[in-house]
């Protein structure tokens, strides 16, 4: 399995390195705030991506806004932000306000933003993978240049038949897709070893005749490099790639889960020592891309922004019950089990 590596100094300019750092700090702040809001009883559930920050910042940097399409999964708050999704809309989703892009219908983090190329998603694991493939088919059929489709999923998702069908279809049709596995080692309480006997999800790529890359998911630059290479392959017409970013889920699956019932504190602590957020900040400080005070200031600005945003969104009203029947079908605001045909 080829391992992608990258060094901070050589690859990216300072501006982009700071974009990565900022995005990682925002993700962490949004997660922290979400869990607080849930404990305060203000939102029904929270779901964090702590431990995925580097994967999502690096992937988001490779995503070309205005060109690429993203088919996300539910643990992608950082990624959608990195792809241009507004912070306020993240909290509108968390608070299920009328202003939420789904009108308060879809559960937290299940957003939609067609204007930004970010697809609507359900909670059905791996079901978005075939949609991403269909989208990539449209891109290829229309010969749209320099456009790729990003398909995100977890390690558990790769056990679903639909995941395999999606990868195979994309491989056969040589479609411009990047299959990005955010391997956090757990699917709720099920560890990777009970999910598959292979060590690397990416090794499954060989079975479909496409390349698979394993990358350190705690290193945003390495992730960027691997995803950018897969994107290059996609837009060159060479077909899909599986990129597997090894990361870890620091928090419980959601606020409705208690991970102490199935995994040891020692394991979590060991991973925490590798926490990509302070590590990347330290790396940039050591490289003199930013200084300690600069990081601290960035952190404070983000905290202020996140708190101000949530304070504001909290005051927005929830959706009216009248919206219940909207958008069942085009133009319908009625129950449609039967149809009065006098009007036809």
């Amino acid at each position: 399995m080829p391992k992608a590596t990258a060094s901070v100094q050589t690859l990216l300019d300072n501006e982009r390195l700071l974009t990565l750092l900022r995005n990682m700090l925002v993700q962490r702040a949004v997660d922290t705030r979400g869990f607080q809001l849930n404990r305060q009883g203000k939102i029904a559930i929270a779901m964090g991506s702590e431990g995925h920050e580097a994967v999502q910042a690096g992937t988001g940097l490779a995503f070309q806004r205005g060109k690429d399409l993203l088919y996300p999964y539910y643990r992608n708050t950082g990624l959608i932000l990195a792809c241009g999704f507004p912070l306020a809309d993240v909290f509108r989703s968390q608070f299920a306000r009328a202003t939420d892009r789904t009108g308060g219908r879809n559960i937290i983090n299940h957003i939609t933003a067609r204007d930004l190329g970010i697809a609507s998603l359900s909670s059905i694991i791996a079901s978005q993978c075939t949609h991403a493939v269909g989208a990539a088919y449209a891109v290829k059929l229309r010969k749209e240049p320099d456009r790729a489709v990003f398909c995100q999923f977890g390690d558990g998702a790769t056990s679903e038949g639909e995941w395999h069908e999606a990868v195979n279809f994309a491989a056969v049709a040589r479609l411009p897709v990047i299959f990005l596995c955010e391997n956090n080692r757990w699917a709720i309480s099920t560890p990777q070893a009970k999910q598959m006997v292979v060590e690397d999800v990416a090794s499954r790529a060989h079975g479909y005749g496409i390349p698979g890359t394993v990358v350190d998911g705690f290193d945003p630059v390495a992730v960027y490099e691997a995803v950018a290479a897969a994107r290059e392959r996609a837009v060159s017409g060479d077909g899909p790639t599986i990129v597997e970013a090894k990361c870890y889920r620091f928090l419980s699956h959601t606020t409705d889960d208690d991970d102490r019932t199935y995994r040891s504190r020692e394991e979590v602590e060991r991973q925490r020592e590798l926490d990509p957020v302070p590590r990347f900040a330290r790396k940039l400080i050591d490289a003199e891309t930013i200084d300690e005070a600069g990081v601290e200031q960035m952190r404070r600005e983000i905290a202020t922004l996140v708190n101000a945003t949530t304070d504001e969104i909290e005051t927005e009203p929830g959706p009216s019950a009248d919206t219940l029947y909207g958008n069942v079908y085009a133009g319908s605001h009625e129950p449609w089990c039967v149809w009065e045909t006098e009007a036809l």
């Binding site: 299940h110 359900s122 059905i124 075939t130 279809f169 069942v328 079908y329």
Partner: protein, 334 residues
């Protein structure tokens, strides 16, 4: 029915579907067909024969043998602006795609509050009476008609096939298009030339009468009409409604007919329990109970898991014309 050009052509149902698909592919670049063996083979019933040569393999897609991805990939295409027409080779093999159709296609517009839509047609041949046995004979409409967000049509006259398939292709939401395979070559009819649509959700009174309302669809609508013709010879005029669309269902036409005839017989091949007839009879009892002069009756497929292969077993499953005529007579004389 809006007819652009005058004149008709005689076609069977296979020809009507083929002709409509062909015109749709010619008219709109965004339209494409995907499914198993739709390319060089031209679909197992030869509906798409020759299409791959004319429209190319990019638009006539022989997919891997995997139904969840046929539906799922088509959904992604629809979400990104194409107008896919997916084919499930036989309705019996739609189960792997159930998740995508029910969990995804039907909910795309609703869960995104209209940000994304899923203008998708899924065509599939269904129904028995062709020695197809357990896995080439099923009716699947009842498994799907419970689902808001989906539309389901099951026309079985060539002119209706064309008008409703055009409507399904134009429709901004997902439509399950069911083609009864026993009618494919058996049923011929006049098909208007030019482009036209028939509104989804509109039933058609195929025969007028005042003694009894019969509601049916699929292959059985043809048998019901045969039975009704026999009864007419006996001096009993039975009204026969071809449902054509299963969801949405044409309440207006059904209620108006029942209020006139005061009796209702529902005939379908799919089994009785929880079938389409259950919904029709519930609707009529809710809205026209006091107009009824007799208990509603349902003549349906037996509640067994599937249709047997042996001729005797298939015949025991299917309802022949004389049994339909007998049920009609009993209802008229009630």
């Amino acid at each position: 029915m809006a007819v652009a050009t005058s004149g008709t052509t005689t076609m069977n149902n296979v020809e009507a579907v083929r002709h409509t698909l062909y015109e749709a592919l010619k008219a709109d670049d965004r339209t494409l067909i995907l499914g198993e063996d739709v390319g060089a083979r031209g679909n197992v019933f030869l509906i798409t024969k020759g299409f791959i040569e004319e429209f190319g393999p990019e638009r006539i897609i022989d997919t891997p043998l995997a139904e969840a991805s046929i539906a799922g990939v088509a959904i992604g295409m629809a979400m990104e602006g194409l107008r896919p027409i997916a084919e499930i080779q036989f309705a019996d093999f739609i189960y792997p795609a159930f998740n995508q159709i029910v969990g995804e296609a039907a909910k795309t517009r609703y869960r995104s509050n209209g940000d994304y839509t899923c203008p998708l047609v899924i065509r599939t041949p269904y129904g028995g009476g062709i020695r197809g046995a357990l896995s080439h004979s099923v009716s699947i409409e009842a498994l799907f008609y419970h689902v808001p967000g989906l539309k389901i049509v099951a026309p079985s006259f060539p002119a209706d096939m064309k008008g409703l398939l055009n409507a399904a292709i134009d429709d901004p939401d997902p439509v399950l298009f069911l083609e009864h395979k026993k009618t494919y070559r058996l049923v011929k009819g006049e098909v208007p030339q030019g482009h036209y649509t028939i509104p989804i959700g509109k039933a058609d009174v195929k025969r007028e009468g005042d003694r009894l309302t019969v509601v049916s669809y699929g292959f059985y609508i043809h048998q019901a009409l045969e039975a009704a013709a026999q009864l007419a010879g006996e001096g009993m005029d039975v009204e026969v409604i071809d449902l054509r669309s299963i969801r949405p269902m044409d309440r207006t036409t059904i209620l108006a007919s029942v209020r006139k005839t005061r009796k209702l017989l529902i005939i379908h091949e799919d089994n009785k329990f929880g079938g389409i007839g259950a919904e029709i009879s519930a609707m009529v009892v809710e809205d026209a109970f006091f107009d009824l002069d007799a208990p509603i009756r349902r003549l349906c497929g037996p509640d067994v898991p599937a249709m047997g292969y042996a001729l005797s077993l298939e015949e025991a499953f299917m309802i022949p014309v004389p049994r339909m005529a007998e049920a009609m007579r009993e209802m008229v004389n009630f």
